[in-house]
């Protein structure tokens, strides 16, 4: 059984149809890159999968590990192992990063019927993850994303992912706004987390992230549908020729 099966997905935002029959299958262990021009529906896909309000699914289905993902509240999707790394991580003044992460971690465990971690157990886990991800613990003592630089925010997303250990990670333009060093660090974090049980959906506008996180599949999203799929060489082709002309043969 595939981990994620999206079939003929149609979705509207503020009455405007953005996704127009998107289909995609993702298996455990795979890394898929979703590329496409601005306005193609890339971020809408991430938001629909994670359950953000304001996105109305009008047709199609999303089956995740055999369950209807679209029927779940956002928190239930998270507990089931779906993680969205935000394009614009939200600043939450007054909420300590570690406190927030423990609340999330324990809420997910509770929802799955697992025993919650006390603060000592959790701190130990966090320390291990920091080491693996090569992130400074200074991030932990601050309020969630408050006053973080663009790079720090994205690194914090990847760090959350490392702690929460999702099965399906959706990275929504995680590479945007990063300089090359920050990009490498984020990519290294993602590569560390690649595993046979975990799948990644990397939504990106540019090819450059794919130099550091090599995908198994590349899909081109245009006008609300996947118009072309291939391996990593498709990304290079896009880099060379742009999005113009892509998928014309597949549009039918």
């Amino acid at each position: 059984m595939s981990m994620l099966k999206i079939e003929n997905l149609h979705a509207r935002v503020e009455g405007k149809e953005i996704l127009k029959g998107l289909s995609l299958t993702v298996n455990a262990g795979e890394v898929h890159a979703i590329m496409g021009p601005n306005g193609a529906g890339k971020s809408t896909l991430g938001n629909v999968l994670s359950g953000r309000d304001g996105y109305e699914v009008t047709a199609g289905s999303v089956i995740y590990n055999g369950i209807d993902l679209l029927a779940l509240e956002p928190e239930a999707r998270a507990a089931a192992g779906v993680f969205l790394a935000f394009q614009y991580p939200v600043e939450i003044p007054g909420v300590n990063n570690t406190y927030f992460l423990r609340a999330a971690f324990n809420a997910q465990r509770k929802a799955r019927g697992e025993k919650e971690f006390d603060s000592m157990q959790f701190l130990k886990l966090v320390r291990e993850k920091l080491k693996v991800m090569q992130i400074s613990d200074e991030l932990l003592h601050r309020a969630v994303n408050e006053g973080f630089s663009g790079g720090e925010k994205k690194r914090n997303e990847i760090f959350q992912m490392a702690v929460l250990e999702p099965q399906l990670a959706i990275l929504d333009e995680t590479d945007s706004g990063l300089d090359i060093d920050a990009l490498k660090q984020v990519a290294q974090g993602v590569n560390t987390l690649r595993s046979p049980d975990r799948a990644f959906l990397m939504i990106t506008h540019y090819q450059r992230l794919l130099d550091y996180v090599v995908p198994d599949f590349v899909h081109v999203l245009a006008d609300g549908r996947i118009v072309e799929s291939g391996d990593k060489s498709l990304a290079l082709k896009l880099e060379e020729h742009g999005y113009a002309g892509i998928g014309e043969g597949a549009a039918a």
């Binding site: 994670s50 359950g51 953000r52 309000d53 509240e73 956002p74 928190e75 999707r77 998270a78 507990a79 993680f83 969205l84 935000f86 991580p89 939200v90 939450i92 003044p93 007054g94 909420v95 927030f100 992460l101 609340a103 999330a104 971690f105 809420a107 997910q108 929802a111 959350q160 929460l164």
Partner: protein, 434 residues
Amino acid sequence: MSQLAPLPLVASLLNAPLPDSGITWLDAARRENREAFAAGGLPDTRVEAWKYTALRALAQRSFASGDANAQTRAVDPSILALPGVDGPRLVFVNGVFRADLSALDSVPAGLTLQPLSQALQGDPEPLRFALSRHYRETGDAFARINAASADDGVVLRVDANVKVVTPVQLLFVGAAAEVDLAWHARNVIELGEGAELTLVEQHVGSGEQVHLATLVSDIELREGARLHHIVLQNAAIGANLIRRSGLRLHARAQATLHVLELGGALVRHDLQAELIGDGAQLDTRGVFMPHGRQHIDTQLAIRHQALNTTSSSNWRGVANDRARGVFRGAIVVAPGADGSDASLSNKNLLLSPSAEIDTKPELEIHADEVKAAHGATVGQLDERSLFYLRSRGIPQAEARALLTAAFCRAVLDDLPNEALREHLSAMLVAQLPG
């Protein structure tokens, strides 16, 4: 207000016998204030300071005066304990001093702490200024009846240059009784030149009751005195609690206030501060969180009357269900108070479509070289933040509580006593829905 028959509330409060102190000036002041209350009655919403707090429902109720059984009411000792606070303590139950619950054996040298009822048996002269006051406005109705009827309360004095290290705790307990009671407390607090004190004032409820309590406090800070005043209002959910605190700051005196308003049915606090000495500094921080059908009204009035005085006020309100919060912050920089700095911020959150918060910042400047800033907002929880938390697995109700607590905690973060800060934070969270 002229009425053919007095309102039940007014009639019942006037039913109380005037306390007889045998002190000529005090008995005269009590008589005059009582007459003023009888003549003026209650303010209606046409009085600006009572615009958002209607007394119509309360006015139809009657309260018996004083609690003859206050000395024997059972009080759960757990409501007296407060983390991070373990010093001298005065406890009043339904307005009556309870020696058995108080802790007065550890009062350090230079600190006078006694119930008003005892202080009046000694030399009443130091109390004359505060207790002979005559309240002139209809808006002062509750101060009038308090001045007429209060025969107990707190007398606290710190001698010049004495720094009291352990916090002093004042507890006002409303305890369930056979009838609905009205009780009144009068507090007179003075810090001498260069004196320092941390004061924790608590309003708590024991059992279900709908009493009416009035409290009037006068706080005088002499030159260079420093006061940290923490107010935790967690009265019984049906209680009516009307307080008035008057602060006077002499030259270079500093007062910091942290206020948490959680309990009560109808709650009103008038906080009136006068910065009368050069370089006086006042910081006020507060959170009010009405829920259910609570009504919590804070009226802050700060007058800068001397050179280079500073005030900073940061208040947050959260209203849920059908509750109502009211905040008025009026700052006056009087002529001659040049070089003063006044800032006021009030941010509010509405957690339910039926909740309401009325906020009104006012700023009047009559001096030169003044820095002033004020602002007020009323909004809702940020949907983007809420989704962010939920997308990480935190259930909706918990996410809302987390964001709301963070919103409130922002004004309590600078409370230096960590154990107490944690306790306040826990009280906030306990008040949240979900």
